[in-house]
């Protein structure tokens, strides 16, 4: 018997403020966490893990910057330096940034924003977390056993011959790939099948759209990385001769395989950030998002075009000249949907009612930094200029503006935005704003000089360098200290907030999407009723009562069918 044909009564459900029981204390004990199927708890465990690995990667970065204070050897030798920069890249990319927004914040909020009880496959969700942890263990193991000095790109034939722990590291990344695929499958299915009544595609929050686009890339691109790394492992152990020219292989083939994943992976890292920014700009401008479909579909466009541009990492590699021209041409077309997003966000602020709370501060900083990241990407797409800039600090600065100025600032924005929702605590707003400004200054001080160095010809992955670059390197190093102080401050006030922060109301920012229509922290099943969606997630002109609609029946008695 189904109840879908039964007439249902819809009424408003006022939100219970400061609930006694919520998902954090619904069940107790270590086991209730380790074996939880609750997407919010899994998301929290992801969050703790990615923050831990961000801390590890950050310490490695500080060590690198300190070593570069002097042109010659400072406190570590070349071999150590090479291992440290490889680990910094691998940890930040595979352990932090790829899972950061989708698997942590996305896991917590995707089902809530859809009005669902959980993701489509809760057990798969837990499995993907443990697979991620397993992969991370292999990475830590390879750190302890000699490290790896190939760079996070594992280029052959260096990686087939290097004596370091290439196999355990790539195997770790191989395993983590599965975690990423499973998360992608889960999110895509959830978006398709688990939306609340009335939650049409045109009413999806843009964060959900961005996670959907990300899921598509994760599912389609990650298997190629897995195959590539497996081939690399087989090359090292069995000598199958697919990449190593000494065995008749072709090293450029590895680069094609690698970038076929790793370029789309750049969008796995940044597109969820776009989603967060859309949420922040609309909520804190108290205004309907401008160009909803332009913003939503540009995520999908980026996901699609992102698959066609991998060869722009290889303009100097000796790939065929025709490919080089085609890849350069297509690369520029990623710029269009990206530009459209930026303009739509700025247009959303026009005639808004702008509240410069901490998350909004991060969103505005994101817009500035990411615009720089995007424009310098245009520079690197231009063939003749890229020949000069390829593999210099210009590229290093560019991708840090995109990955850190973009994704990390969006992540911080999202973290501060949703913190009251998933912890039930407020943080010190003044300290948070100060920290945000410190991070902004530190970030620019670290990476702006790197654009200049790169233009002047300073190659990346250099342990020693010519003395002419020392001043700029020192600016950059001082900047990294400022960044370090900023992150310590963030850690400080967030911990204070956890311990003795004021209780958070259910909707501290005046948001309109579904996660703000339930208690802070959320109940174990997200809602005490089946939400019914009437308005879009950015309809700030509609009365809040109309966003709290639900089917007048206990939640556990209904099905989503």
């Amino acid at each position: 018997m189904t109840n879908t044909t039964k007439p249902v009564a819809i009424r408003e459900f006022p939100v219970e403020e400061f609930p006694e029981t919520h998902y954090l204390n619904a069940t107790k004990g270590l086991k209730s966490w380790m074996l939880t199927l609750d997407h919010k708890r899994i998301g929290l465990m992801y969050l703790a893990s990615v923050i831990f690995f961000f801390f590890v990667g950050g310490l490695l970065a500080l060590a690198l910057r300190l070593e570069l204070w002097e042109p010659a050897q400072n406190f570590m030798d070349a071999e150590t330096y090479n291992r440290v920069f490889t680990l910094h890249g691998a940890v930040m990319i595979f352990l932090f940034i790829i899972p950061s927004i989708p698997a942590a914040l996305g896991n917590i909020f995707l089902p809530v924003m859809l009005g669902a009880k959980d993701v489509a496959f809760p057990r798969l969700n837990l499995a993907s977390f443990y697979i991620y942890l397993g992969g991370a263990m292999f990475t830590l193991y390879s750190m302890a056993h000699g490290g790896i000095d190939t760079g996070w790109t594992f280029y052959t034939p260096y990686s087939t011959n290097s004596g370091s722990a290439v196999i355990s590291m790539t195997f770790g990344v191989f395993i983590m790939g599965f975690s990423s695929i499973l998360t992608g499958v889960n999110f895509i299915t959830t978006v398709h099948k688990m939306r609340a009544p009335g939650q049409t595609w045109g009413k999806l929050p843009l964060f959900v759209w961005s996670l959907y686009a990300t899921g598509v890339i994760q599912v389609l691109a990650t298997p190629v990385l897995a195959i590539t790394l497996l081939l690399l492992i087989m090359e090292r152990t069995l000598g199958i001769g697919i990449f190593d020219p000494a065995l008749g292989g072709d090293p450029v083939l590895f680069q094609h395989f690698f970038w076929f994943y790793s370029h789309p992976a750049v969008y796995i890292m940044i597109v969820p950030g776009f989603g967060i920014i859309s949420e922040l700009i609309s909520t804190f401008s108290r205004k309907v998002i401008f160009g909803y479909w332009a913003v939503a579909l540009s995520s999908l466009a980026i996901a699609f075009i992102g698959f066609l541009v991998w060869g722009h990492h290889m303009f100097t590699s000796g790939q065929s000249e025709l490919s080089t021209v085609v890849f350069s041409f297509l690369t520029f077309f990623v710029g269009l949907p990206t530009g459209i997003k930026i303009m739509n966000w700025v247009a959303t602020m026009y005639r808004g009612s702008i509240w410069l709370a901490t998350p909004m501060l991060y969103a505005i900083e994101f817009l500035f930094l990411f615009t720089i990241g995007g424009l310098t990407g245009i520079m690197l797409g231009a063939l003749s200029v890229d020949i000069h800039l390829h593999d210099t600090y210009y590229v290093v600065a560019h991708f840090h503006y995109v990955m850190m100025g973009g994704t990390v600032f969006a992540f911080l924005g999202g973290l501060h935005y949703w913190w009251p929702k998933f912890t039930g605590k407020m943080y010190n707003e003044t300290l948070a704003k100060i920290a945000s400004v410190i991070l902004f200054i530190g970030f620019n001080m670290t990476f702006l000089p790197q654009f200049v160095m790169g233009s002047q010809g300073m190659p990346r992955r250099y342990f020693g360098y010519l003395e002419q670059f020392q001043t700029l390197h020192q600016y950059s190093t001082v900047g990294s200290w400022i960044l370090g102080v900023g992150f310590l401050l963030v850690a400080y006030y967030l911990i204070v907030s956890l311990v003795k922060g004021a209780k958070a109301p259910s909707n501290p920012w005046g948001g309109r999407s579904l996660e703000w229509m339930t208690s802070s922290p959320m109940p174990a099943h997200n809602f005490e009723h089946v939400p019914v969606v009437i308005h879009g997630p950015y309809d700030h002109h509609q009365p809040i009562a109309e966003f709290r609609m639900g089917i007048d029946a206990p939640h556990h008695d209904t099905t989503h069918a």
């Binding site: 070349a78 020219p245 401008s285 100097t316 269009l336 009612s353 702008i354 817009l367 231009a382 390829h390």
Partner: protein, 314 residues
Amino acid sequence: MERLKDYFLPESASTFASDTDGLFMFINISGGLLLLGITIALIWFSWKYKRRREDEVTPVIRHSTILEVTWTVIPLVLILFVFAWGFRGWATMRNAPADAYEVYVTGLSFGWQFTYPNGVISGTELVVPAGRPVRLIMQSRDVIHSFFVPDFRIKQDLMPNRYTTAWFEAPEPGEHVIFCTEFCGSGHSAMLGKVKVVPVAEFETWLTAEKAKTEGDLPLAELGRNVFNQQGCMACHSVDGSAGIGPTFKGLAGSQRSFTDGSSATADDNYLRESILRSNAKVVAGFAPAMPSYQGVLSDRQVDALIAFIKEQQ
């Protein structure tokens, strides 16, 4: 504007540098204007539309086709223009003039070697005539390296399994640094070279003089010194006792060596020969197995000469 360019970019010393620089500056300026516009809008909106009362209502502005089209088409025109400009400059870089002077380039961990048409080999230093196009035919002996001369705005990877090419023309005499820009191991950042652009007459003289250095009737140790310089051995092995990427040659011959596998041996002629030809058979403790093999690269006489040269470094 000129001063800005001089600050951002290295000396412009090849015929295509100015075109690349022009595009670099064009993107910087147009991008800079865009960034400025966005920043002003962000700051202006944040100030002008700052929330002053809690009950403020905002207008419903959902969409504007005219605006969407505008900010799609204008960037589209710009990127097509940038693509075309970049393509034009790059096409020039890919098409060497038919009369270019050809030099073979070998990259190896961690040095450069330049072979001239008359058989002269120069280690580390690429000497070329001013005002004449020079085409480089490049190959790596081990892992991927990349040949980068910032002053020329050229860069090309060197592959172990095929030739890659690049060309340049330096109008004026001068010296320019060569970097390796594809990560190749512990000596990556020490893999420096130099392009020395000299007047044509001076180039001819240099080439003749170098040729004489490879003639067969030189004394062994002297030939060995030439091989040492030409093969770029000094990139890793010093002769003054200072530690490099590899052990110093000073006092090497006849000394007791301990290896990474715990064994040890005396550095006699056979040890030296083996270390040159099968370079990683015995690796001295404290060093990485980074040296490429010289089997098939050096003739027997050159190996003899190199050993004689090493023995002289006491």
